[in-house]
Amino acid sequence: MSDTVFYWQALNQALDMELAEDDSVFVLGEDVGLYGGSYRVTEGLYAKYGEWRLRDTPISEGSFTGLGVGAALVGMRPVVEIMTINFALLALDSIINMAAKVPFMSGGQFPMPLVIRMPDGVAKQLAAQHSQRLEQTLMNVPGLRIAVPATPQDAWWQLRQAIRSDEPIILLEHALLYFSKGLLDTSREAPPMHRARVHRPGKDLTIVTYSRMLDLSLRAAEQLAEKGIEAEVIDLRSLRPIDWATCATSVDKTHRLLVVEEDSCYAGTGAEIAAGLTEHCFFNLDAPPVRIGGKELPIPFNATLEAACIPRPSDIVRAAEILCSR
């Protein structure tokens, strides 16, 4: 039952199961079919399910995402793959002004069982136009759910939950996670899709993070432990909604909050996390919440600068030390 797999494999297995179980599920996007997906997520599925269920599309992000909306209206369960989130800038009308709003505007007549999957984040020297995040853009939209699996197990669980749900759900899969490995136990029951998970218990500060920054935060936590600081590390798993209860319980205990995100902090995901938890835990906080995130720059192509523009474990360690000394 339990196996070590790549993140992309977990997604691939999840898709395979859902495609097999429900013939209203179909996948569409650029090179998801014959090619097998740029990150191998759909590998082997085209041969198995054929071109109508693994549909290679032209480069028309706005419309093929909207096509997913139309198909969902008549009860299909489309899984739209946008090759990377950078191209989702062309599909935001379909996502925000159609998928998220039609169930509401129609007076509740039309559920929207649509899944949109895409890699996001800063990968390796893809330069400014290909290093977009957009998480906060989507977070602000009532009607959407956003899942951010950080492990193969979560990727498997959350993709299956998303496909089975009647809500429009965005799955953000970090580009650098596809080839990371982890345990996948297909017999374990899934927690609710939005439930945050305490990955490491601690008493001195709470680190709230998600997606690829989880791994970095855990590494930082180990270094902090050597210095006698016990960080509690929480993986949000979902950005809309946020599981405030799990986070607030931790902050109320540790009295200190460090938010780690990859994107530039200004008006980013961490702003909501910090503001929301300040509302929940203000009187238990010993110091102002600190946000660690990307620099206020488009991502430079140069490798050294690129690395300097997003958080490194050492940045997290340093910030945590300062925070704990206040």
Binding site: S60, A71, V74, M98, M105, G108, P111
Partner: protein
């Protein structure tokens, strides 16, 4: 076509006109607010097209869709109540004038962002093709909407995969205040389907019989599995773009010409291969309702009593709709929340 169907079509055109004129009045009274885009002048398109469709077909429309909704069979009561933002409106007051939906009648919505109808219709068409069903999708849009990128993207996909979509352009010559020659490099809209090998033609949108026949032919083709079809209906809106628009960018003579009935000159204009000149427009342009009534009359189908009855009937329907809308309760915030949550089935998701 049998007499009954013709009379039904005339009825629907009369209802459309009466409903819209009344909506304008109610807007003036403050009972309707927001953007209100009316349809007078274009009735022949909605009526001709939708009477050629089967109940199992799907309709995707724009913000100028009251008449599409009515002709499709959504009761005037529930359309008017939606315009009033009331709970008994077809979208419980959440959508309003620009967003009419009706699941039962496969009326898949009014979309207010220009260009959204294409991908929605294409997605429904994809499903039909995948399931190999005999249904079709009718996708409405205006002449201005043709310049949106989704037109290009969606028509390519629809043609590439032979999807059963009928693309229906309601060419009323204007994108709000911008006349078609000033917004389209190729003002003969149907010619723009050439980039996708989609069979396309132009039809007089003021002649409901021509509209009906062209639609039937196109739908027959589609049901044969040959992929999408495209029809441009040339028509005209008698009013401004919306209630907020005085329409002062249009030459008076042009509007007047279209308002005047003249079936001979329209026939001339119709036979022209390109968009008519302003002189031709000035000389042409019938009111399509009068045109159909005349046709029925001359064919001995319609007595003046029947016409009077029809008119009285639609007046009553509209009056009743306004009463219904007025009396309908307001939706509550809890109703709004319930609409948003309509798709929350899964226990796992909170």
């Amino acid at each position: 076509m049998d007499r009954e169907k013709l009379i039904t079509m005339l009825h629907d055109m009369l209802l459309a006109r009466a409903f819209e004129e009344r909506a304008a009045e109610e807007y003036g009274r403050g009972n309707i607010a927001g953007f209100l885009h009316l349809y007078p002048g274009e009735e022949a398109v909605a009526v001709g097209v939708l009477h050629a469709a089967e109940p199992s077909d799907y309709i995707v429309s724009t913000y100028r869709e009251h008449v599409h909704a009515l002709v499709r069979g959504i009761p005037a009561n529930s359309v008017m109540a939606e315009l009033f933002g009331k709970k008994e409106g077809c979208c419980r007051g959440m959508g309003g004038s620009m967003h009419l939906f009706d699941r039962e009648r496969r009326f898949m919505g009014g979309y207010a962002i220009v260009g959204e109808t294409y991908p929605v219709a294409t997605g429904i068409g994809y499903t039909i093709a995948m399931r190999d069903l005999p249904e079709a999708v009718i996708c409405f849009f205006g002449d201005g909407a043709v310049n949106q990128g989704t037109f290009h993207e969606s028509l390519n996909m629809a043609a590439l995969w032979d999807l059963p979509v009928l693309f229906v352009c309601e060419n009323n010559h204007y994108q709000i205040g911008t006349e078609i020659h000033r917004h389209s490099a190729v003002p003969e809209v149907y010619k723009r389907a050439c980039g996708y090998h989609i069979p396309a033609r132009k039809v007089d949108g003021m002649d409901v019989l021509a509209v009906h026949q062209a639609t039937q032919e196109a739908l027959t083709q589609i049901r044969n599995g040959t992929g999408p079809q495209f029809i441009e209906f040339e028509t005209y809106r008698f009013r401004g773009h919306s209630m907020a628009d005085p329409g002062s960018y249009r030459p008076r003579v042009e509007v007047k010409a279209y308002e005047k009935e003249d079936p001979i000159t329209i026939a001339i204009a119709e036979s022209l291969p390109v968009y008519p000149s302003s002189e031709q427009i000035a000389a042409a342009g019938p009111d399509s309702i009068d045109q159909l009534a005349t046709h029925l009359d001359q064919a001995g189908h319609l007595s003046s009593e029947t016409l009077a009855e029809l008119k009285a009937g639609v007046a009553e329907t509209v009056e009743a709709a306004v009463r219904f809308a007025t009396e309908s309760p307001e939706p509550s915030l809890a109703d709004a929340q319930a609409c948003l949550d309509c798709n929350r089935g899964m226990e796992v998701l909170i």
